[in-house]
Symmetry: C2
Subunit: 344 residues, 2 copies
């Protein structure tokens, strides 16, 4: 185990649509850009491929410095988890994959957290299998940050897809874990927690949500139900739902943003005046884009496990993956596991 | 019953956030703007209030012409359904409400369809209670049109909130009803039908969705699962989901659009150049806004009943409600009930 002051993050370098050409420069950028002291990275994957990417994307002197200071360490992994591998088969047959070794490093306390942009199902199943659940938590939940109308304010939402069928106890536990996460990461001492429902009144919704509301009624942070249109308003800090609903809400939002962006582009290109307007609008449009840049929110945590496992979007680029590593760092630094335990 | 060539639409004039000041001018505009022959409207509600709105919002000569030609007829209703009335109590205690009389008119074949912007729960419950289900359909579903990336192409989605708990047979029936609706209203002879899921692979999702896919596997229109990000792509014509998921997806989209619009406005106002850019961008932004103007898509149908009942958004304005009346007309004109029966 590292000294308490040093945080080690295990990175599955082979995961994601772009593999080491994305994960390796993101890791290097994280070390260069972050202001954190005492953090080091384990780069896990096929050694020759990682080395190639290090040579290609990293300044020689900087690389030497990082190696000399033990800020990066390469750990060879023979196997790679493919994006379409079955989660069950991964657990059984891919014990030497970069993903598995990264998760094992957390279990063995060689690392304080792991990050992967690989196969979501495999990452969830393997993290669950290797790390095991925290006491009194039955299911892990994917918890992500989402942008809101309020500038510089994000909300947290869980579960974003780990569980397709949940009961009221699972939602209750998600609410508690989300509260701990909002405190630790969002620095919100008293987060407002709500259940995602199809109406704000108590009588609305399915039985699971109604019963979860009853379980949560004495929770001082619980404020009741919200509808989908309130997700982005920024008034609620922790939005709780089952993984099916959360995943649909998240993906629907992603698709809608793409659709709107494409349509706006089409309309701007239609006339000369609009084109001129678009040119003058560029700074505003760029600020707007930055504000909702999903890359800033990349890196969802699998909450409820006896270890920190961070899931990056599979299509993450260098900037996005750097944010995912940052989220792993914050989770480890803030001792999120203990904070969840204190609330359950 | 009217002659087969005449379509009569019963309008609950008291429903919605703005009551007769919205429903009455919308009804008049519908008669003035639509190119349909042989359509007439029943304006149902408190007679004096409707008359006041007719005097206020309708040109005297035009009103006289409509009355002379029997294009509008006022039917007095003593009661009004409030937005927060319990659906069960409405069925029992509001038998003389404008909403109930409008639905009764459909049942009694005085009208071919009814439209209301009132209390959604009450409209669903009362429509279900009065009109009864079509044979072999177990649950009514709210089916709405949604804009897509493809210009002038909308998709249809159901259920948008009528049923919080569905089994695979319900989803199967929704798929069939959606197919009939897309054919009748969207004029798509062979609509592509998909289940909304959290992955496109067959193994993904909860048991209800997986079993629904099995029931639909021999349906020539069924193309499999889609994720939320494909809802707005325009490749799928009919998107099937349970009412909880559909309602969350729809409301989340509405909220996201508001959030993005507010943020874009903030960014445009930030500098002088941006303000100038915004001014030149106005035509493009207006075209963009029109394209996604939810008012064009107002008027969802309650599919599965032995009668046509159209639900308008409660906050609908005159333009939006006019579209809802148009949807009622199209549904009646295209004999949607028979078309559903042919498919089930």
């Amino acid at each position: 185990m590292n000294s308490q002051n040093i945080i080690t993050i295990a990175i599955d370098c082979m995961g994601g649509d772009f593999g080491t050409s994305m994960t390796v420069p993101a890791a290097i950028n994280f070390l260069q850009n972050s202001q954190h002291q005492n953090v080091n990275l384990l780069l896990i994957g096929q050694e020759n491929v990682i080395n190639e990417s290090l040579q290609k994307f990293c300044d020689k002197n900087i690389l030497q410095k990082f190696l000399d200071e033990n800020l990066i360490k390469i750990i060879h992994a023979e196997q790679v988890v493919a994006m379409d591998d079955s989660p069950t088969l991964c657990i059984r047959n891919k014990k030497n994959s970069s993903m598995r070794i990264a998760i094992n490093a957390v279990k063995d306390k060689i690392a304080n957290a792991c990050v992967s942009a690989g196969n979501t199902g495999a990452l969830m199943a393997t993290s669950h299998f290797v790390l095991k659940m925290l006491p009194n938590i039955e299911r892990p939940a994917i918890c992500g940050a989402i942008p809101t109308t309020v500038p510089d304010k994000c909300s947290f939402m869980l579960d974003l897809g780990a569980n397709v069928d949940c009961n009221e106890h699972h939602l209750y536990q998600f609410a508690k874990m989300g509260t701990a996460w909002a405190r630790a990461v969002g620095q919100i001492e008293n987060p407002k927690v709500a259940l995602l429902n199809i109406g704000s009144e108590e009588i609305k919704g399915n039985n699971v949500v109604k019963n979860a509301a009853k379980l949560l009624k004495d929770d001082p942070n619980f404020v009741g139900n919200i509808e989908g249109d309130a997700i982005y308003h920024g008034e609620i800090d922790v939005i709780v739902c089952d993984g099916f609903v959360g995943n649909v809400a998240l993906k629907t939002s992603e698709g809608l943003v793409q659709t709107l962006a494409a349509a706006l582009k089409q309309e701007y290109k239609r006339t000369l005046i609009s084109k001129f307007g678009a040119a003058l609008s560029l700074p505003a449009l760029k600020r707007f884009k930055n504000r909702f840049d999903h890359r800033r929110y990349n890196g969802a945590i699998l909450l409820g496990l006896q270890g920190i496992s961070i899931k990056s979007h599979g299509s993450a680029d260098v900037v996005a993956f750097e944010h995912a590593i940052e989220h792993a760092y914050i989770a480890a630094k803030n001792d999120i596991l203990q904070k969840i335990q204190n609330l359950i």
